[in-house]
Amino acid sequence: MGRYLVRRLAQAALVVVGVVVLTFIVVRLLPGDPAAAYAGPRASPEDLARARELLGLDKPVIAQLGMYMSGLVQGDWGTSLHTRLPVTHDLSIAFPASLELVGTALIFAVLIGIPLGLLAARFFGSPVDGAVRLGSMFAAAFPVFLLALIVQNTFATKLGWFPVAGEYDSKLDSTSPLHLYTNITIVDAFITGNWPIFLSTLHHLILPALVVAAYPIGVVTQMTRAAVSEEASLDHARLERALGFAPGQVLRRFSFRPSLNPILTLLALVFAYSLVNAFLVESIFNWPGLGNYAVASIRSLDTAAVAGVTLIVALAYVIANLLVDIAQTFIDPRVRLS
């Protein structure tokens, strides 16, 4: 296990470094002068020269990359051109908000997708299976921005059941100030017992999280159905049925656990995908996550900020995959880490 972890961490570090280098170079190759973005449209030549020097843009790209990588190692992810604040500070606000949204969406995906997949597998080939398959395909294929607009317009604007946008009611900042520990609002509100903000966040979270969850629910349902059905067709399942176990029992007790491996692997992939897929949803529901920050960073050729967003998404992907690999060894004794 130890050697495996060391090897995986080394591979992960290579992936992350590769992603950062590529992002840095691509953003630097884009036409335009980041100093002009920093100094503003009415900057004088002197202002531009000062900005170039301040941002290190007067040095060769390789030297800039070296300085950036050296800063990364020391925990300095650079300063954002458009917010003028350390990128780590910006990400410490934006990433937890995205995590809150995507985390909730994945909980929905597990709670809805797995039972639906089991249901489809239990009634494999029946109209119930057909309906679940159709529904899950629709959920996975429907454009997320369109779904977000429809859901927002219907359930928030027209019916008024949910807030239109935002993370929580900002008036609560005055009446129930929130103490931050993790920067994940709903978690901080829960652990500090700040129920007005907890309930408000929950209320604001449901619609965007359901929209982000649409794709994960679809694919988790499909994967659960396929994996459990396949497991249920193996010899051990025939034996269990011959021994008198009901079909539902065979699925739940004997076929589901071995099917968890592909589902978990899928969840790790879906997690990273959803972080990026949520950008559009965050924009429509004005969720203060990575989406708005990434768009503003790209528009202003903000290399440090773009690289920061890419780095944190890559790290999340790598960590999630590693954790899933480890989790699989506990779930399925046949899996060995080597």
Partner: protein, 541 residues
């Protein structure tokens, strides 16, 4: 099985925990609290004006160097000596109650208002006004260039400030600037340097509102609270709190306005604005701005060096068609200077004339039987209005046998190309917006039409000694003899548009505002783009 379930859930939680740990380690342990928080008085909906803005609100809180989006907040927190009124085309008293110029516009004496307090309780006097302007000049950031004419500032009495200039300039207008002209208490932070003090979301202003909360990165980025000691007083009906919400998506802003979550939206697209005009509970207003779109023609190189080609392109533009296609979002321009500023002349009219354009091209040797003409144009990427102009001009020029290669670029790339040392790489037509930092048309002429080498904003590369001389005379004329300044502006505009065809002014943008019908007394002041002067507004039923 049970333990496995726990481990599975644990793995998922671990992902969240790892990221949370990263977040927690990288700063922000305590959410900025609303320093004005007074639950019993500050949260009534009718007392709070909520403004939805599509970009981050604050980049720089320092009134000396601020030069970005925070311009929509600053005039509610800080004040200037004067404020411009576009209806009268004159400046009006604010922190100064009277002023006069002497010495041919090279000396300006301002009398300060009595009883003005800053938010920390300090009382405004001449020394503080002098100190804040001198600090702004010294820092050389943002729009500090507006004080370029100031040689010295004297304070002969506690309420008198005298500006001695090195050349005549309209200091009364300059003092009304939306950037760089604020009077502030630079000692508000005590032992903390003023820049560091304001960088934490505090302020040293004297305006009707004080900064109560700055929560960068969050949806409600800024909250302001009424300053009880405001010199204007709080009798009558006023908003007591102001919130600035960052809502990048226009459709979301519109939904929030309809649901009553925001009081006003800074900008909607034309389609949604049209819907807003017919929506119950929503009020709208349309005001002509000081921002216009110009097409600058390359007078130095390439085919447009020939004035006949420039005039042909100028005459090929369908000015009326562009305005009607943009459905109320813009109005037709009358020359370079927008309405509401000294120098505006409604007799300067631009019209499409394809026959004249064809004739000019033939004279220049292009068209049927002549040489083939191909032009390049750059404009701002993502700007639908400019995209429409590119389409219309491409089509009009096609009728004349001219090919137009119109390229949308990010501003930085567009600007880089225009300033390229290799003149062959520069464009033939450069499209850009311009607006003044203070209510003076001089900015268009000194920046875009005065000769400069290397080029900066003069991207028509025009070099005309007579025009330069006239432009250089504008500040003194504006300060001392405005009617002569008006005549000079007219002469210049005729040179630029008619005689030399240096540029075409395509349209002037309109401000299209949508706000809750409960918002009373809203007036757009184009000298302060997108600024809701909240103190002057009132919450209604």
């Amino acid at each position: 099985m049970r333990s496995t379930r726990y481990k599975t859930v644990g793995a998922l939680i671990a992902v969240a925990s790892a990221a949370s740990l990263l977040a927690a380690c990288s700063g922000g342990a305590v959410k900025p609290s609303d320093s004005s928080a007074n639950p019993s008085t500050s949260t009534a909906v009718s007392d709070t004006f909520v403004y939805a803005q599509n970009l981050e609100v604050v980049t720089d809180w320092d009134p000396a160097t601020s030069y970005s989006n925070e311009g929509i907040v600053m005039p509610n927190v800080y004040e200037t000596l004067t404020r411009y009124n576009p209806a009268t085309q004159k400046v009006e008293p604010l922190l100064a109650t009277a002023w006069q110029q002497s010495n041919g516009g090279k000396t300006w004496t301002f009398t300060l208002r009595d009883g003005v307090k800053f938010h920390d309780g300090a009382v405004l006097d001449a020394a503080m006004a002098k100190a804040s302007i001198e600090r702004t000049m010294k820092l050389q950031g943002g729009a500090s260039y507006i004080w370029g004419a100031v040689k010295t500032i004297e304070t002969p009495s506690a309420n008198t400030v005298v500006f001695n200039l090195s050349y005549p300039a309209p200091i009364d207008l300059i003092s009304s600037s939306s950037y760089g002209a604020y009077i502030y208490d630079e000692k508000a932070g005590g032992t903390t340097a003023f820049k560091d003090f304001v960088a934490t979301g505090k302020d040293g202003g004297s305006g009707p509102y004080t900064v109560a909360l700055w929560d960068k990165g969050h949806e409600t980025e800024v909250k302001l609270a009424a300053f009880d000691g405001y010199w204007g007083g709080w009798t009558g009906t006023h908003y007591k709190n102001v919130e600035y919400r960052v809502v990048p998506e226009v459709t979301t802003s519109w939904q929030l306005l309809q649901s009553g979550d925001v009081s006003m939206v800074g900008r909607l697209n034309p389609q949604i604005f049209a819907e807003a005009q017919n929506t119950k509970g929503i009020a709208t207003s349309v005001t002509s701005s000081f921002q216009n779109l110009l097409a600058l023609y390359n007078t130095a190189d390439g085919p447009m060096k020939d004035v006949r080609v420039r005039k042909a392109v100028r005459d090929a533009i369908d000015y009326n068609g562009l305005v009607s296609a943009l459905k109320g979002g813009v109005v037709q321009a009358n020359g370079v200077v927008p309405k509401g500023l000294l120098g505006f002349n409604q007799n300067i009219v631009q019209q499409q004339n394809l026959e004249e354009a064809k004739s000019l091209l033939a004279d220049a040797g292009y068209g049927p039987g002549g040489n083939k003409l191909s032009l390049t144009m750059t404009y701002a990427e993502g700007d639908a209005d400019q995209q429409l102009f590119a389409t219309l001009l491409t089509s009009a020029l096609q009728q004349l046998g001219v090919e137009l290669k119109a390229t949308p670029l990010q501003w930085n790339a567009q600007w880089d190309r225009a300033k390229s040392a290799d003149t062959a790489k520069r464009q033939d037509i450069f499209v850009m917006y311009w607006y003044p930092d203070y209510a003076d048309a001089y900015t268009w002429f000194i920046n875009m039409f005065h000769s400069a080498d290397p080029p900066f904003f003069n991207l028509a590369y025009w070099n005309n000694a007579a025009a330069d001389k006239l432009i250089d005379s504008l500040p003194a004329l504006t300060a001392v003899t405005p009617p002569l300044a008006q005549a000079a502006y007219t002469t210049l505009q005729k040179m630029i548009i008619d005689q030399d065809a240096v540029a075409s002014v395509l349209y002037v943008q309109n401000y299209q505002r949508a706000y809750s019908s409960t918002v009373q007394n809203y007036v757009d002041n184009p000298a302060y783009p997108n600024v809701p002067f909240v103190y002057n507004m009132a919450p209604g039923a």
